[in-house]
Structures are given as C-alpha cells and as structure tokens.
C-alpha cells in the first residue's frame, strides 16, 4: 500500500472482552496491510440485540450516539462484530425512515450536545479488505499460502441479512478471500444459518443444538477449520464443543479462527501477534513445502 488509509474502529464490548484474540489479529493484519485503525473515543455499547427487547428508542439512541461521535471524525466506521455492525446499520436505516424515532433520538442526543446527521458509512472489516486491498492485492501479499487447508466460511445471520449486504456485496464474493489465501474453499451450505447466538447462554439446549448442526455439517463437508467473521459466533461455535460432543456422542471438534487470524497466517504473521494461542480449539496446521498439508485438528482443551 502506498499511502495509509485510516478508519474509525468501533470495537464493541466483546473485542475488549472475550474476543481479545480477534482484536489482536485484526490490528496485526490491518497494520501489515498498511491500514490504520483509530479507536472511536468514548464509544459506548451498541446495545446488542438485547437492548431492543427492553426499549427501542433507547436502543436506537445508544447506536446513534456512536454514529454521531464517528461523524465528527468523518472516517468510515469499521465494526468487526457483526452484531454491532448490523445494529449500527439498522439504527441508521430506521433513523432515516422513521421521523418519530429520529425526533426522540435527536432530542436525547442534543441533551448531551451531540448531533446525528446520518452521514456515517459503516462497514465490516471484511468488506473493507475486499474493497481496499482487493483479492489481487491480498493474493500478492500472501507469504505462506494455506495450501491444503479446507476452510468452511461461516458468516452467521447478521452480516448476511437486510442491513448488512446493503453495501452491495454478496456472501459468494466474500467467500473468495479463502482461495486467495491459498486455502481450499469448502462449499458450506449453512454459512448464513443461525448459530443460536445468545441462546447458548439462556436456553442452552436449543442453543447448543443449533451449534451442533453447524459443527456437524462443517465436519461432514470435510472442513479443517470453520472461519468466522463475528466474535460472537466465534465464541459460540468453539466454546461448547466439548459439551456437544458429550451430548450427541459425535466428534465435532473443529478450530474456529476469526477471519483475520486466518488471513494473518497466510500473510506470514507470527502466531503470537495473531493470538492463535487464545483459541480454545487450536489450529494445528504446518506449512509444508510441497504436497497437500492437512490440518490436524486438535481435541478440545
């Protein structure tokens, strides 16, 4: 990259919490590609999917505060958690379409000296990588092709649905980053099937079953790893593998890297900078000179 491009980075709560490793690898990859992330100062929680169940106006205001702050900076917003991403986009959409909501939110924001204009541009980092680095650019920078690694892409619900793909990208276009890294793209039909999200913590049995469906299907499709683009899905898919295995009596162990971890591996970045050791199910893949190098999925720790 000739010049450095910069973006406003909206981490969301999980990137500061259980998804540290996602954040580490995101920083590492972006830095390597000459893209700069500037954390949105004073950001607040986007409200997640939960707040909407209690009060919709407050939920929209939470998102709008972040957008108003970002508008002051003017850079494009990157939201690596698809829940944040989707909620920010949905808030933008609804604030534009429902004057009543807009009026209420405006009033609340003005009480704290903020103004929301609706000009923020919100992206998921994967969209940005494909747009600003491009497949060709990515390919050119691959130092350690992930030869022989069978990768199932998993996007989850939120990046695939109404507000997200309004940026005009399709999941099939997203998929292409996998072959660009030298890995094998696994045709994974359930790539946008719901993983149950928070249900694993609330209505556990149902939640675990949804995760089981995905893991089993990925195994059957002969995937060595299932790559995610959302820290929530990432945790959800990797955290319960042991329990699921006991419950269904079936080996469902499969590493669930965050997509920047996978990209970082191909870019030749160090395991440490990608926080690979923080995955609950480690990736055991050794770069091999020639011939197919199969990943060695480990058992759950």
């Amino acid at each position: 990259m000739a010049s450095t491009r910069a973006y406003t980075y909206f981490p969301g709560c999980c990137m500061h919490g259980f998804a540290r490793h996602c954040q580490d690898s995101l920083y590492a990859v972006f830095e390597d590609l000459g893209l700069e992330l500037r954390v949105l100062p004073e950001w607040n929680c986007c409200g997640a999917t939960t707040y909407m169940s209690v009060d919709e106006h407050q939920a929209f205001a939470l998102a709008a505060r972040n957008l108003a702050l970002a508008e002051q900076i003017g850079l494009e917003i990157l939201a690596p958690c698809t829940a944040c991403f989707m909620i920010l986009k949905k808030a933008q959409d609804y604030l534009a379409r429902y004057p009543e909501i807009r009026a209420k939110v405006d009033r609340a924001l003005s009480a704290i000296g903020l103004r929301y204009q609706g000009t923020a541009r919100i992206y998921h980092p994967l969209e940005i990588l494909l747009r600003d680095v491009g497949l060709k650019g990515l390919k050119a920078r691959v130092k350690q092709p992930l030869r022989g690694l069978n990768v199932a892409p998993y996007y989850g619900c939120l990046i695939a649905r109404p507000y997200a793909l309004s940026n005009g990208v399709t999941l099939e276009a997203f998929d292409q980053f996998i072959p660009a890294l030298g890995a094998n793209l696994v045709d994974f039909e359930l790539k946008a099937h719901c993983c149950g999200g928070s249900l694993t913590g609330t209505i556990e049995d149902v939640g675990r079953r949804l995760v089981y469906i995905l893991l089993r299907q990925a195994k059957r499709a002969k995937a060595d790893v299932m790559v995610t683009v959302c820290p929530l899905c990432q945790l959800n898919l990797e955290a319960h593998q042991g329990k699921i295995q006991r419950q269904y009596g079936e080996d469902v162990t499969i590493p669930i890297p965050y997509f920047t971890q996978l990209i970082g591996m191909a870019l030749g970045l160090s395991d440490k900078s990608l926080a690979l050791e923080k995955l609950l199910v480690p990736i055991r893949w050794q770069p091999v000179e020639k011939g197919a190098a199969a990943a060695q999925p480990a058992t759950a720790a």
Binding site: E189, L190, I213, Q217
Partner: protein
C-alpha cells in the same frame, strides 16, 4: 367579445351525483346553487346520473327550452365521458365543442376526506369551467381516412388469433415476430389446462393457417424500429434480421441440418431452454412456422473461419436456398391500426437464491418442465433429471416471484392452474409422489375448480405454506442426496422438512424485458410492473391511450390462453370497427397562426416536433400546416406575440380557467 361572436352566451350547468360516488362527498345541491349565480349561467341543475338517458335528455330539453349555447357538466374524468356529453350537446342541436366537462369525481370526491373542502374545490372547478366555456367556439372535427392494413407485433397465440380473425375478414395484416418462428409460449407446452388438450394439436393448425392465409404477411426475425403518424395512418419501420436461408426458395426438407459438419447438436436450444442441443443450422422446433431452418452466425463455422466444407450448401443443391450474404434489412409499412401482442417472460428465479435455482441441478422452472413433459421435447417426454435419475418425489412451489414485496406484488393468475397441470402430468409420467406448496389456491375459471378436484383425487399432497428455501443439508439418512424443502404446513400447524428429488418453481409471469423500450416506441402507457396500460380496466380493456393501438394477450397482464384468445378477438374487432367505418375524427385541437399578429420571430418554427410550421420568407410570417399539427400547444406557449393559438386551449380559455379556479 366571446367565442360566439356577438350572440349572448347562455350556459347550462349540470352536476352529477354519480349515485353516492360524488354526492357522498360533495354537497351537490350547494354546488349547483353556487353555479346558478355565475355570470352567463341560465340554468343549473343536479341529477343522480347525468350519463344516463334521462340525464342526457335533461340537457337536450333545457337547451331547447332556454336556448342554451354552452354546456358544462360536472361529473367524472373527461377520459371517460367527454365524448358522451359532446354527443348530447350535438343532439341538442349545438356544436359539440361548446361543451366542457369538469372532473369532480376522480379529482375531487374520490380523493378528498373532508366534505367541506371537497365542495369548495368542486365549486372552484365549476366556476373555472363556466368562465372557460364562455370563450368556446364552434369547431369541426377533422376526418382522416383509415388505412385498412393492420400491424400485429408478436406472434404468440394472441398475435396469431388476431391476425387470422382480421385476415379472414379481408384485412391485410403484417405479423411481426422477433423469433424465428411464431407460436410464442404456447408452442412450448405439452398439454394445456384445464382440459389437458394437446397444445400442438390446437396450435399447429392455427400456425399453418397463418402461413397459408394470403392476407397475412408474416415477418419473423423482425422487430419494429420506428413508428410515426397517428391513428388511421401509421408509418412503421421494421428491421428484418437475416436467417441466412431464403424463405422463398427453401422447401423445408431439413437435409441441410442433417448434412451440417456438426454430426450432433452442440449448442443449447433456445426453444428447449437449453435442455436440448442444436446445430449451427437448425429448425427452432418441428412445427415451426415458417418451416424454414436458420443459421446462427455465432456458431456456424463458415461465419467464424470461412473454411467450412459447407455440407449444408452442397445438399441444398439447386434449391440454392442458403445465402450467407443476407444482411439486416429495413422495410417500411403503412398501416391504419396496430395490435400489440408481445406477451410475457417468465421470472428469473436466480433472483431468489434461497430456492437454489442454478445451483442445484434438479431445481427447474415450470417452463423447463413444460419442455421435459413434452412428447416432442428434448427428452421425448421422459421425465429424467439432469443427473439421469427418475424422480420419486417432486415438490412444486407456487408463487415464485409473485405476490411478494421483494419481487412482484401481483398474482400471476395462471401458475396455480399450470402447477396443477404439471402435478398431474408429472405424477402420470413418473409415478412420483408430488407435493404442491401454495399460499392460496386460485382456480377461478370455467372447469378450473373441477380440475383441482381431479388433481386432489390423483393423490397429490397439497400443503398450504410457502417453502422458505431449498437445501441439500441433510439431517437424517433419508434426506441424504435429496433436495430438502422446509415449510410450515399452515393448515396442520407444524413445520415440516420434505425431501424430494425434483423441485419445480412455478415462476411468475413478467412484462417483457424490453417492454419499456417498446412502450416508448409505440407511445403507450405502462403500469408500474411494465404491463401495457389499457384505456380502462373494465370498459376499454383492449384500447390504449394512443388511438388506433390495441392490446392483446399477456403484454397487458398475466392471463391464460382462453382469456388471451378472447382479448385478441376483441382487439381485432376494435381494429376492424375503425377500418370499416373508414375514417376517424380527430380532436380539433390544432394550432393556427394569426398573420397580423405574427412578428416573424421564428421561435415557433423550431418548437414544433412535427415540423408543422414553416416560415414564409415573402410574407415574413410563420405558416402552420394544420394537417401535420397534433395539437400539443408548444408553439402557442412559445410565441412571444400571441400570434400562435390553439383550438380548445386558446389563451383566453386557459386564462379564464386559471382565474376561475382561484376563488
């Protein structure tokens, strides 16, 4: 001075209740009373139905009794009843153009909430009309002869039926079809609902008659490229694309196809929707009319490299019908009326990726299945899947691309019925278990419900629920290798997963992809979905807003073959009624130029889109040719000295009207 010279103006005002359509919102009594006080008004009345005979008689009687010489009726849109009341005025012995219609239904009562505001608006409009009609003059409509030739665009069953009807009444017909053969969609079907008669058996004789009828001039591989003129006297340019085989010389023996250097068909056949293969030289389908092959230059070796041994030419021999030198030709036609019969296209199911069309080979569109079950189709009527298997379970999904805010809102009207037909045929041919997934079963037509009963008795499973998506994601061994349909059975109240081998998508009917261009070419209206707009949905379903152009078949909206044929007959009759009358009366709304006022500035000359105005260099004034003027009024608006004026829309009339509405 007024439009009447010095005769005093006596105006009669008539307010229509239209049952409660107007009276329910507008205070018709108050309206009539307020009109009575306007200058020049001699009599003002309200009546239940002005367009009825007693209503019209009222006008005639008053005119005689009070010596009225201006009539204002406040009722519905002029597009509906202007003509009616002009006739009434004429019946009363006055010039029909001394009349003016005020639209207080479509523009007032039906669109207003508040009765007081509606009444006020109606009063203003009536006042304006009274002010305007003051300036009306006696006018004579222009009569122009009607050319008896008819142009029919599109050779599906609609175009074919209209052409045969007109031709047998002795009218010369030009039938222009874009494809190499006429027949349209119907030619692709095996059987037709609800009687299950064989499509070819009923269509082929009609197609052959087209060929044999001396009054029909058939042009295939042709498209209209330009239309000018007006009702009775259209000038049309038609582009004829090369077939590379001379229709006049070819006897249709098909030997050339046999002898083509390609031993087997290699390229997807358009008519079979790619399910069958053809050679570079081919017959679109066995019953094609004209029964002449064509060469596809994109695939023929001679066109690509000029190095083909040309088995085709050799075998054609003395008949010498093959002509690689043909080029695009343009012909000019003169016709009096035009019938649009350009049909429809089917919905592209790739727009709904959840159904896996294009991804899973065994997901088909209904039209493809029509070819599969067709005895003369690519599989000779054997229903075998793309992977060679015979299906044991088949799911037919209704409403794909219809009744859906994400695609088309409307119901395509025929797909319930053809889905029933396909369920029956597929079951008969394969013995498979067939499921139909529907939202509502729409079978309103003669013999349709009986057909539904019959298919119910065939043992087809009818599941009320729209399938959410098609996957290959198996949850059990029984689902392995199948296409799995996930659906909420809304009548039984359970969610079901149903594995099948074949999925049939009952795709919607949509307006042709180029409907927008065609519509512009012919100056037609179009509904938001792209269907050509009829003049009135109930009372003028085959007329358009352009006089002399009529609609037939699915270009106007989705419909089945019986309705298509009925409409084609109606379009032919409308066209014939113009031809047999021999002339049309044109609205006398042409412009004229007052020589004394003309300053010779030239402005109007450039304004006229029909070059109706030229400049007389000797007199130094603009001269207007009334025969060419179409009455747009653009020159009038542009003339800085008020020399250009337009009948029915003179400055005085419009200024008075504007002043009138501003009460």
């Amino acid at each position: 001075m007024n439009g009447n010279g010095n005769k005093s103006v006596k105006i009669g005002v008539y307010v229509c209740h239209c049952g409660t359509n107007i009276a329910g919102k507008v205070d018709v009594k108050a309206l009539a009373e307020s009109a009575a006080g306007l200058p020049g008004v001699v009599v003002s009345r309200e009546y239940k139905y002005m367009c009825s005979d007693p209503g019209q008689d009222l006008i005639v009687k008053d005119t005689k009794q009070f010596g009225l010489n201006r009539i204002v009726v406040a009722s519905c849109s002029p597009h509906l009843h202007e003509l009616t009341f002009r006739k009434t005025t004429a019946n009363a012995g006055e010039n029909p153009y001394l009349f003016h219609l005020v639209n207080i239904r479509e523009h007032v009562s039906w669109v207003s909430d508040d009765p007081a505001a509606a009444t006020e608006k109606a009063k203003a409009l009536v006042k304006a009309a009274v002010a305007r009609v003051f300036w009306h003059q006696e006018l004579q409509p222009r009569r122009v002869p009607v050319n008896p030739s008819v142009l029919i665009v599109g050779g599906g069953i609609a175009g074919i039926h209209a052409a045969l009807t007109l031709a047998s009444a002795g009218k010369p017909v030009y039938l222009v079809e874009r494809k190499p053969s006429i027949g349209g969609h119907m030619a692709q079907f095996d059987k037709t609902f609800p009687t299950l008669d064989c499509a070819a058996c009923i269509l082929t004789p009609k197609m052959t008659s087209v060929k044999q009828q001396p009054n029909i001039h058939l042009m295939t591989l042709a498209e209209v490229s330009e239309v000018s003129g007006f009702v009775g006297n259209f000038k049309v340019k038609v582009k004829r694309y090369p077939r590379y085989i001379d229709e006049a010389k070819c006897v249709g023996c098909g030997e050339c196809i046999e002898m083509c250097v390609y031993k087997e068909g290699k390229y997807p056949n358009d008519f079979d929707l790619g399910l069958g293969k053809r050679k570079p030289i081919y017959m679109p389908f066995p019953q094609a009319v004209p029964p002449v092959p064509l060469i596809d230059p994109a695939t023929c070796i001679e066109f690509k490299s000029h190095k083909c041994p040309k088995g085709c030419v050799e075998v054609c021999g003395d008949r010498d019908a093959i002509d690689f030198s043909q080029t695009v030709k343009e012909v000019e036609l003169e016709v009096g009326t035009i019938i649009m019969a350009t049909g429809f296209k089917t919905f592209e199911p790739r727009r709904l990726p959840q159904y896996g069309y294009g991804k899973f080979p065994n997901v088909y569109t209904s039209l493809e299945v029509e070819r599969l079950v067709n005895a003369s189709g690519p599989t000779l009527g054997q229903v075998v899947l793309r992977d060679g298997r015979r299906p044991e379970a088949i799911g037919i999904l209704h409403c794909i691309g219809s009744r859906d805010e994400n695609t088309n809102r409307y119901c395509s009207r025929v797909c319930c019925m053809y889905s029933l037909k396909l369920a029956h045929l597929l079951k008969e041919k394969t013995g498979a278990h067939v499921y139909n997934f529907y939202i509502d079963m729409r079978t309103p037509g003669k013999g349709f419900e009986e057909f539904y009963k019959r298919v119910l008795e065939d043992g087809v499973s009818f599941i009320r629920g729209k399938v959410a998506g098609v996957t290959t994601w198996a949850q059990s061994p029984a689902e392995e290798g199948k296409l799995i349909l996930r659906v909420e059975d809304t009548l039984l109240g359970v969610v079901r997963r149903i594995p099948v081998d074949m999925v049939v998508l009952s795709v919607a009917m949509e307006a042709q992809a180029d409907a927008e261009n065609v519509r512009r070419l012919f100056n037609l209206g179009c509904s938001a979905e792209g269907w050509f707009l009829e003049r009135h949905p109930k009372l003028a379903p085959v007329d358009t807003f352009t006089d002399g152009i009529f609609l037939a078949g699915c270009c106007q909206g989705p419909k089945d073959i019986p309705d298509t044929v009925a409409q084609a007959g109606a379009a032919a009759a409308q066209s014939m009624s113009l031809i047999d009358k021999g002339y049309v009366e044109m609205e006398p709304n042409t412009a004229w130029i007052e020589e004394e006022l003309c300053s010779g500035c030239h402005v109007c000359v450039a304004m006229c889109p029909y070059t109706a105005i030229h400049f007389d260099a000797d007199k130094k004034v603009a001269v207007l040719n009334e025969a060419l003027c179409k009455g747009c009024g653009t020159c009038v608006a542009a003339c800085p000295s008020g020399a250009a004026q337009q009948n029915l829309f003179r400055d005085e009339q419009l200024f008075a009207e504007v002043e009138g509405v501003l009460v």
